[in-house]
Symmetry: C2
Subunit: 215 residues, 2 copies
């Protein structure tokens, strides 16, 4: 029953190696990071690295899988009632997790992070949502795919900025912002923030109508 992980030494080694990579990912992409570099910084022998990981990419993949697993344990706690706030709750939960793991997320989402992994996560959310939409009405599948990509990639950009600038907005605010950007678009979203009372009124009318045609 005694698996590899039970050994304190292994736990420390893996931890320090992962931490070192995370640190290096702020300066350069994975492919520019050498095994020697990691080991020098982590004060480990190179053969120790090879005992646990194939190469820096493999190491990164393991870190990502770990994060994905943890995130899942948070998500499965959610009660899905088919509510229209479902997507909002899903996003909020994710953002809360990101806040609690800011260092790691900054590395993975940052300039030298793993884009394919970023998309993988966001796609999980959107694809689910999109399938719902597809069943409700007869949309052009090609268009739906474009919508999804736009939303996913756009969201990643917003999240990156949020992480870089110190996460001043709360998880709720971020979930709200992204949903507004995705579903209401830029025009309505901006108009909500101008001081003119007249504009505010009009926006409210638009909102009511929008609701009446929502799927």
């Amino acid at each position: 029953m005694a698996r590899e992980k039970d050994d304190r030494r292994v736990k420390y080694t893996k931890m320090i190696i992962k931490q070192t990579l995370i640190g290096l990912l702020r300066q350069k992409p994975v492919d520019k990071i050498t095994v020697k570099e990691i080991c020098d910084l982590a004060d480990l022998n190179r053969s120790t690295f090879y005992a646990h990981f194939k190469d820096p990419r493999d190491l990164l993949r393991q870190i990502e899988e770990e994060l994905m697993g943890e995130l899942n344990t948070h998500l499965v706690k959610l009660t899905f009632v088919g509510d229209e706030n479902e997507t909002f709750q899903l996003m909020k939960t994710i953002f809360e997790y990101v806040v609690d793991n800011a260092d790691l997320c900054r590395a993975l989402m940052g300039e030298y992070g793993d884009i394919s992994f970023q998309k993988e996560i966001m796609m999980l959310i959107q694809e689910q949502k999109m399938e719902e939409w597809m069943h409700h009405e007869r949309f052009d599948p090609e268009l739906v795919e474009y919508f999804t990509l736009f939303s996913v990639n756009g969201s990643i950009g917003v999240i990156q900025k949020w992480l870089q600038s110190g996460m001043k907005k709360s998880a709720s605010e971020m979930a709200d912002l992204i949903m507004k950007l995705t579903y209401q678009g830029l025009s309505n979203c901006i108009n909500e923030n101008i001081s003119s009372v007249k504009a505010r009124k009009n926006v409210e009318n638009v909102k009511k109508l929008s609701k009446s045609i929502e799927c």
Copy 2:
């Protein structure tokens, strides 16, 4: 007056090196591409590569600058009348250029392309647009930045998909799609495409109201 470029040999060498890199960028990121690999494929001596480029990244940067320059020559031809269709025309012109240079663009925008370069181009367009908006009304600068990032990153995702799937939509259609996604958002955009007459009517009402509050 005889610059480096006038020599046929230099022209050929640079051309074949660039072409080879473009080809390799379909399989792997720049940082995984070695000088030796390029030279073997291009059938050149390694020292010839070093005579013109510092390393594969430098080569890629030069390719990008070249593209940027060419694109600019197309863009300066546009007449800017301050029209509301200005952004559309700008985008259409860019998409037309992309269609004419599909191979190169596919490499630079693809899975292993240069993300920072992609953003650089799209930011040029959006930042200009956003500054206009900022002068019109007193928007929260932070929000405007988020909008810009969402739009830029979203657009890149859409363009990537478009390039990968054979560019079946025309340049006009793409410009239209991206503007709709950016300014009207997903809800309105999708509702435009459902067959229900009732929904179509409602959308029209929303549109009218939206127009009345447009900046």
